[in-house]
Amino acid sequence: MANSLPTRAVLTANDVRSGDIVFWSADGSWTTDINDALISQGTETAETLLSKGQAEEAANRVVGTYLVALRPEDSAGPVPLKLRETRRLAGPSVRVPAAGTETRHAA
């Protein structure tokens, strides 16, 4: 199992109640900001993070935990390796209106 784990990664999930994307932070709680996420260095810490994720799922705080592989350390901040994770982190690339405040598609 250790061989398939990314060497540099963050633990992510969705908050059970809100569905928000969250990351496991260095201070031992969930954060919505990847820049505050605890980054694993090597497969051993990746395994520890995964175990933490399973415990957090069992405690019903989050759902769907997994590791997001990151680009090498010389990248500016934690940057996902995969296209899907890049898009997930960035949010929709199309404009989302604020609730009740505008008419989408207005001429």
């Binding site: 019903n60 769907g64 899907r84």
Partner: protein
């Protein structure tokens, strides 16, 4: 339109209460996610790329203004102010919180709506012709049989855990506007010599990674025989469908592996052993439903068509492009494009939903339809009211005159929202619609369907489009494959892959060259794109796109 009876109403209220209890148990830890997941999916609640997503059923695409107003309220109160009309004539909200979904389901139940069977391996929302009941070319109103199917399939105990999801479409007109042959079972309602409804059944159609056009199963099935036969068709599929491999689990694969004739024989053998007596009540129920549709249809006295000779050019263009023939002279079927130039296909804001509901009350007897092309239809518009309706639509940015044109693009949510997607669909649609609206102003391209899917699952119906685009992930980079020659009408065909895919920024130019080639090869202005393609084949298009680039 159909209104719930006390049984229907009690049922959806019970289900909403049940889901509230399930959510509470999830939040208190009595249910694990593994236990809760099938329960939430049975109520249309997915976990997508960014958040939960709630898909709400709109049976055969028909809504009243009260229901649309409620959807607008939900968008503004519980979501981010907008919703997305889907290719199954449903609506989905992209950002609901789990803690809010019990309240949302209560709101839906209060207007005779729910989210049941919009997910999972069950019979999904039955889709139909958005012109049902008013189409000039209609043989039989498909809504009564669609509603009968809804009731038959709702929590059908045998068909709640099929090998894979199962999709019905029903049409009853000469022109297939429901993509009936791209469904697991397609039903084409007609009339016999005595004027009674009869049904041609097609089986084994579908899209995804194995696109197939449905094959004719039986013709002129009489109403009393319809439900028993459908039940037998599902039973044989349920028994023999490939549960070992989800990619081979749809009925199209079973029909192909068994052969149509053998599948037919098995169904007839199953039917011969069935007790069909319980189905006899369906005949009375069909009549009850049909009578209700008829009684609630607004009175439409024939009148004169609208004289547009002094109307503005923009109103003339909109009427010419977006208004379809109504079965009653002097009335109009109005198609409202949810595909503005550079806009997001099928997305409407809560504000627009409220305004559309008001316009439906003012101009369409309070009724409207959602189409599988992600647009809206007003079925009961008095021709003299067209200018007033047009003005109202202009005020909310929904007066684009492009129905049926290439810029009337179908697009799935793609990698902007969907957890299964491999590439984005929406930005490609936006760029193309900007390019195409400019071209359509000068080039008279005529009707062309252009559909985009963000993965091989083909929710954007790319296989069924004259011009299809499939977004893929190629070495962690978005890549777009073009297919040509597909069509979803009564002459349904699967599009052919043109060649290697393109980077996203190359797509508009490639589509432009496809259109240039069509214009140069068509024999007359009324030779449609798929007819030109069928006549000349892929080669000239391929040469123009790859060699001439």
């Amino acid at each position: 339109m159909y209104a719930y009876d006390t049984h229907d109403q009690a049922f959806v209220e019970d289900r909403a209460r049940e889901f509230r209890d399930q959510v509470e148990r999830r939040l208190t830890g009595q249910l694990s996610e593994e236990e809760f997941r099938p329960l939430r999916l049975q109520n249309g609640l997915y976990l997508q790329l960014h958040a939960y997503m709630l898909r709400i059923a709109i049976p055969y695409g028909e809504l009243n203004s009260t229901q649309l107003r409620k959807l607008g309220y939900i968008a503004d109160t519980y979501d981010k102010g907008y919703g997305h009309f889907t290719t199954r004539q449903n609506i989905q909200f992209n950002w609901p919180k789990l803690i809010d979904t019990p309240d949302i389901l209560d709101h839906l139940a209060s207007v005779q709506m729910h989210a049941i069977q919009t997910s999972g391996n069950c019979i999904r929302n039955v889709t139909s012709d958005p012109f049902a009941g008013v189409a000039a070319d209609e043989f039989v109103d498909p809504r009564p049989v669609s509603e009968l199917l809804r009731q038959w399939s709702m929590l059908h105990p045998e068909f709640a855990f099929l090998p894979r999801k199962f999709k019905f479409a029903v049409t009853g007109a000469a022109e297939d506007r429901a993509a009936m042959k791209f469904h697991d079972i397609g039903i084409w309602a007609k009339t016999d010599d005595s004027g009674n409804p009869v049904f041609d059944l097609y089986v084994g159609g579908g899209q995804g990674r194995t696109p197939r056009v449905a094959k004719l199963f039986e013709q002129a099935v009489a109403l009393p025989d319809l439900l028993p036969l459908l039940d037998a068709m599902l039973r044989v599929y349920n028994l023999h469908g490939r549960r070992d491999n989800k990619y081979k689990a749809r009925i199209k694969i079973l029909v192909e592996e068994l052969g149509l004739e053998n599948y037919h024989d098995e169904v007839r053998a199953e039917l011969a052993g069935m007790d069909t007596a319980p189905f006899q009540s369906a005949i009375d129920e069909y009549e009850r439903i049909r009578a209700q549709f008829e009684a609630t249809q607004p009175a439409m006295e024939p009148g004169e068509s609208l004289d547009l000779s002094t109307a503005s050019a923009s109103l003339q263009a909109w009427v010419g492009q977006n208004v379809a023939a109504h079965r009653v002279p002097g009335w109009a079927v109005v198609q409202i494009s949810v595909k503005p130039k550079g806009g997001i296909p099928g997305d409407v804001t809560g504000t627009q939903m409220q305004a559309l509901a008001d316009l439906a009350d003012a101009f369409s007897a309070g009724e409207l339809r959602i189409t599988h092309r992600q647009n809206v239809v007003f079925p009961y518009v008095w021709a003299a009211d067209l200018p007033g309706l047009y003005k109202g639509l202009q005020d909310i940015g929904l007066a684009e005159d492009n129905i049926g044109e290439a810029s009337d693009i179908i697009a799935c949510p793609g990698l902007d929202y969907c957890g299964l997607a491999t590439a984005r669909s929406i930005p490609v649609a936006q760029e193309l619609s900007t390019m195409l609206r400019e071209r359509e102003a000068t080039d008279a391209l005529g009707p062309i369907s252009l559909n985009i899917s963000g993965c091989i699952n083909a929710c954007g119906h790319h296989h069924a489009a004259n011009i299809g685009i499939l977004g893929l992930n190629k070495a962690e980079k978005e890549n777009y494959q073009i297919t040509l020659g597909g069509r979803s009408d009564e002459n349904a065909a699967v599009g052919e892959v043109l060649g290697p895919g393109f980077d996203r920024d190359q797509v508009p130019a490639a589509i432009g060259r496809v259109l240039d080639t069509y214009l140069s090869l068509r024999t007359a202005a009324d030779e449609r794109f798929p007819d030109t393609y069928a006549r000349v084949g892929k080669a000239p298009f391929k040469e123009a796109v790859y060699v001439g680039a």
